[in-house]
Symmetry: C2
Subunit: 381 residues, 2 copies
């Protein structure tokens, strides 16, 4: 790569489809069947393409490849339905790669929903699924409503309000629904104020973090992101202080723990081994639990009236007069959809540090790196 390919903002652009094919080649090289590798690659690249970089390619070298190195993932493992009641099933994910597993179990739930109106899979023994919203969005694009949540297995990151030990993960939750021809609604959230990836991203960049993301032992806000991994900064729950809803964020994290891990029998955050350490993050995110629910509106209702109603509802929100005319009203999923379209037509933008990492991974895995798109050096200039 020539330096002229890098723009003044230190960004390059990589063809979207070529980037997916590149990641898929890496995953097939690690033993994933081709159809799984394609979905897993699409899910991972979605993070960068949709502007959710903390869950994108940066995790390839940092999170996913180490799972393969340490035999913590079984690339060709078979999902096993251990209990089947028609609309609901319990599934042992056999340690398969979560970037694929999450889409597979939502597809399984969708088949159930087509028959029963609703379909639910309780999943144990799963691994990290990347952006929850990638997987639910795929269902919304097919006219369905999907809900996906995940605990963090035995990894403990956040403390119950007033507690001294970390007992829960960031416990992400996503729900998506169609919005007619417009971008689907896709809520994708951690139940902490922000996911740890955003705190660590700031730490890598040497940036301070806004007040409200981390607190110290006494509950006072911290702006130093490195406090998280030092074990003396603790993620705050969605809602902030008890007066403004911290117990709701905590309560939602417990909802995710119940739905995703307690029913399926996955590893739980609140387990006695949490009573150790400094109060900072402990444990590993193995044996993760998912809750995957799909609603098939046509099957549930017996008619096709929900589609136009959904289109109307989300169009109404977008048409709401804004307080600031330069800031139109939107809904979760809209901005991500715009970025995704731009990435598909103009390439996925990545900063030089990430691009450098991608090339190193390519070399280490013995796979050709993707080529930069023509004119890439003008990005952001």
């Amino acid at each position: 790569m020539q330096i002229s390919e890098v723009d003044t903002a230190g960004q390059v652009r990589v063809d979207h489809d070529e980037l997916i094919a590149f990641v898929a080649r890496i995953f097939t090289g690690r033993g994933l069947p081709a159809d799984r590798a394609r979905i897993a690659a699409d899910a991972l690249v979605y993070g960068d393409a949709a502007g959710l970089g903390s869950h994108g390619l940066a995790n390839l070298n940092k999170l996913y490849l180490p799972l393969f190195d340490d035999d913590r993932v079984d690339p060709a493992g078979e999902l096993a339905v251990t209990s089947d009641r028609g609309a609901a099933a319990v599934i042992d994910a056999a340690g398969t790669l979560g970037l694929w597993t999450a889409s597979a179990v939502l597809d399984n739930a969708a088949d159930r929903a087509q028959r029963y109106g609703v379909g639910v899979c309780f999943v144990r023994n799963a691994t990290h699924f990347g952006c929850a919203g990638y997987h639910t969005r795929e269902q919304a694009l097919r006219g369905r409503i999907a809900l996906l949540s995940s605990n963090c297995g035995a990894q403990r990151i956040a403390r119950p309000p007033g507690g001294r030990y970390a007992m829960l993960g960031t416990n992400p939750l996503s729900i998506a629904a169609p919005a007619g021809d417009a971008a689907p609604y896709v809520l994708d959230m951690s139940t902490t104020a922000v996911p740890t990836g955003k705190i660590r991203q700031a730490a890598r960049r040497g940036d301070p973090i806004p007040s409200g993301w981390l607190v110290d032992e006494s509950g006072a806000p911290l702006t130093d992101p490195t406090a998280l991994d030092r074990g003396d900064g603790f993620p705050t729950w969605l809602g902030g202080s008890p007066e403004t809803g911290a117990y709701k964020g905590y309560g939602l994290a417990l909802a995710v723990e119940v739905l995703s891990a307690l029913v399926s029998g996955a590893a739980l955050g609140p387990a006695p081994e949490a009573y150790t350490g400094s109060g900072g993050p402990t444990g590993r995110d193995d044996d993760i639990g998912y809750f995957a629910m799909v609603i098939d509106p046509g099957a549930a209702r017996g008619d096709s009236a929900m589609g136009p109603a959904a289109a109307g509802m989300f169009a109404t929100l977008r048409a709401c007069a804004p307080v600031d005319p330069a800031q139109p009203v939107g809904y979760p999923g809209l901005r991500e959809d715009e970025k995704l379209r731009a990435a598909r037509s103009d390439g996925v933008a990545m900063d030089f540090a990430l691009w450098d990492e991608v090339r190193k991974v390519a070399s280490a895995e013995g796979v050709e790196p993707p080529t930069l798109v023509s004119g890439s050096n003008e990005v952001g200039a």
Copy 2:
């Protein structure tokens, strides 16, 4: 009533069961069948007994009896299943009293869950259900996991972030799960920072509200609770500012709207008629939609292992060493359960203003008021 029955804090205590019987007599007097009236009364008194006074007896005269006066409720209406796919059903609630309807549709979902592992009811044409957590807790007491959410029909209270018009209700959401012999886990939350009842309660008392509950047109925090009903104070979403998660609270409100109203075909908050008025609250909470889901863990898993796991998980949280030894760690539902036990044994405490209102309602409805418990004058003294 003698003045000696009122304690120095202006509180009286009323026998818990007698209070329920009193409210049930009022509801049967308004045409509710006795079995429905009993459940509706239990649900309403739960608000006061569990320490959630903004959703308790204060709403009898303010919210529920006016629904009867205005023929906005059909006390003996029959729930109609308009679509049935086994695990999922769409139900027309026929304008029945939500305090009863919500429990009835969760029972319906529970029957479905016993057969399919999961059961879901999408409900339209419903009315206000009081404390969502009352209804889900009843399922948790029977070993099930329950989720209940409700939009606010055509009543619009909160504005989308950056929007000029109110387009959504406070859209409450509750989830409950068993915790062995301990108090069930019961999350019961509005998707705004606080429910409007808490803001109006402060307004009635002449108290200021904490920063983070209401904002003005520019987004600056307000501490005057009367701004809400003047139309120049707007409820904030759970999460506070965009940096700390406002889009998550808004996104959760949309999740409730989708699940509760879009699938069932109930009235939607985001409808073109919202583009009117001052930007403050508009519309009426008629044709409310509910989403009611029950998971039967034994049926879904095919074994009874979840019960002990749930007991262990919630016991582990309670055993977490607290930062402040005087403030033990808990979980949503624990404090409400303690208050409920105290109310059942010692009577339901209510301030004199509410007790006075109860006696006036009794007189107007031609029903004997409940008697005060012996020693009531010592409450809080």
